[in-house]
């Protein structure tokens, strides 16, 4: 057992030396190292949500986490976000252990979580202003982002005046605005109707193609995961473990119409659906 602390000691030491840590950063943007999460249920019982998850995500990769509801996939994302502390194990971003939220990891939630008292422009500007940008600078950048997510003309609308799809576009722009190195997307299109979801998936890919940020994307839709990702991490039911990681070897830029006819795409979808069925739960497609 003495091997384990030794290993982490070495890692701690290498993180200090600039050259080595740079090399490490080029390898992995996010490292999840034997992370477990236990919750106390209302009956005072311990519920193991995540069990010894280890995962490494390269810089610029689009990785989806797919699994049945309650498998802890969102919890894993919250741990990377620094919103939840793991019970055991450690998660790192750019080689540094995650101790809390930070602007290098930008979350996008299913619930949008916009600031309702700010209009669209105010929401998108918020993070930039917080990071010290001047008002004029923040406004110019924000207006460009709002245009990029297709909401030009809605700058002065309040969130309550927007549809669900528009709200999520604002949330994406708000997060992109402060240039996080990693996008953490927690079932971002789960609350939207099928048509809106398709459009947002397309637009997200277009935006992503421009700067290829690292994306960690939680979903329970197999189509969505295959369409968007470089890698699909399939998880088991609670306690959440990684069942398989599937590399999605499909050409980019991807277009929905082409992919739907592509037998390789179809095979990925069918294979992954079988994998999920094996875990004991048939997840209905939304």
């Amino acid at each position: 057992m003495t091997v384990l602390p030794l290993r982490s000691e070495i890692e701690g030491a290498t993180a200090l030396s600039g050259v080595v840590s740079e090399a490490r950063a080029a390898m992995a943007m996010i490292e999840i190292d034997r992370v477990s999460q236990t919750f106390q249920t209302s009956g005072r019982q311990n519920h193991l949500a995540l069990s010894e998850i280890s995962l490494s995500i390269e810089d610029g990769a689009f990785v989806s986490i797919l699994g049945p509801s309650g498998c802890g996939k969102s919890t894993l994302l919250y741990i990377v976000g620094g919103f939840v502390n793991p019970t055991a194990g450690v998660a790192r971003v750019k080689g540094k252990a995650i101790t809390g939220p930070g602007p290098d990891r930008g979350p996008v939630f299913q619930e949008f979580a916009l600031f309702p008292w700010k209009n669209v422009l105010g929401n998108v500007m918020y993070g930039l202003r917080q990071q010290g940008a001047s008002r004029a600078e923040a406004e110019t950048q924000s207006r460009r982002l709002i245009e990029m997510v297709g909401l030009k003309g809605f700058e002065n609308f309040y969130p309550k005046e927007l549809s669900g799809g528009m709200k999520q576009r604002v949330a994406i722009a708000r997060t992109l605005a402060y240039h996080p190195a990693v996008l953490l997307m927690d079932e971002p299109f789960g609350a939207l109707d099928a048509h809106t979801r398709n459009r947002l998936q397309n637009d997200l890919l277009n935006i992503w193609e421009r700067d290829r940020k690292t994306v960690l994307f939680v979903t329970h839709s197999v189509d969505e995961a295959v369409f968007l990702s470089d890698k699909v991490v399939v998880m088991t039911r609670a306690p959440g473990r990684i069942k398989t990681i599937v590399d999605i070897d499909l050409p980019r830029p991807r277009r929905r119409a082409d992919l739907l006819l592509d037998p390789r795409y179809q095979k990925y979808v069918v294979d992954i659906e079988r994998l999920i069925d094996d875990t004991g739960e048939v997840e209905a497609h939304p």
Binding site: P103, E111, F115
Partner: protein, 261 residues
């Protein structure tokens, strides 16, 4: 073009006023006692009161105490309520305390407070402060507790510290609920104001009212009730305009309950 229905809805409070006055007039004519003047007699007594310098000074005194008590309560109750809503330890310390204090009529503390602090402004302002604080604490607490966790996470990811999140996310997000508490507080302030002046008579609108009662000037008594009532209605109406403007961004909610607890 505004629909006739909309006009009717807007004018409804006016009709309610007129209706009440008519009822009053009729009841008083039927009962024919000295201690119940008619509505018209009472309204006729209003200019005499408002024309008197001393009466105006008294009313101004009342309003000043009410404003100070209310402002102090807002400054104290909103931060406390918000902290109770977000920090478990603060809530578990103050909740039992407030549960005990809540049902005690604050005016009942007036004799004790008078004993310690005299019959002057300090006692009366303190009673108003106590009466107003509780609903504002309660609503701030509820508002802060209901703030979406993910909204706070989004702020934390942008680099907001815990204190910044409290002031710049919890406070605005809870504002609709806080202002509901403030509206209740405003009306309670008026009620406690009059009650405190009834107990410690020295100056104020309540003082005029109860002195006139002692002297059997019933038209003045009822005129003062109209004046104080009108003050309450005006303050509430002004507050509603300000509130509507401050939370114009919020989802339309149910009509405000008229909670005079």
């Amino acid at each position: 073009m505004i629909k006739p229905g909309a006009w009717l809805a807007k004018a409804a409070p006016l009709f309610a006023c007129i209706g009440l006055l008519c009822l009053w007039q009729a009841a008083s004519l039927v009962m024919k006692t000295d201690s119940f003047p008619t509505a018209l007699e009472s309204i006729r007594a209003i200019p005499a009161i408002l024309g008197e310098r001393e009466a105006l000074v008294n009313i101004a005194d009342s309003l000043r105490r009410m404003a100070i008590g209310l402002i102090l309560a807002v400054l104290f109750a909103i931060p406390l309520g918000l902290m109770m809503g977000r920090i478990r330890r603060v809530a578990s310390f103050f909740n039992p305390l407030l549960m005990v204090i809540y049902p005690v009529p604050k005016a009942a503390l007036m004799p004790v407070i008078m004993l310690w602090l005299g019959v002057g402004d300090v006692s009366k302002t303190l009673v108003i402060f106590l009466g107003v604080s509780l609903p504002i604490i309660y609503h701030s607490f509820q508002g802060a507790r209901a703030v979406e966790e993910k909204m706070l996470w989004s702020g934390a990811a942008m680099g907001l510290t815990a204190m910044q999140r409290m002031v710049r996310i919890v406070l605005p997000a809870a504002l609709p609920e806080i202002l509901t508490g403030c509206r209740t507080g405003l009306v309670l302030a008026l009620i406690t104001m009059v009650t405190s002046e009834m107990i410690a008579r020295q100056s104020g609108a309540g003082n005029i009212l109860f002195n006139s009662l002692d002297m059997g000037q019933y038209d003045t008594v009822f005129a003062m009730i109209i004046i104080i009532g009108a003050m309450g209605i005006c303050l509430d109406a002004v507050f509603e305009v300000v509130r509507g403007w401050l939370v114009r961004w919020s989802e339309p909610q149910f009509d405000m309950p008229l909670s005079f607890s």
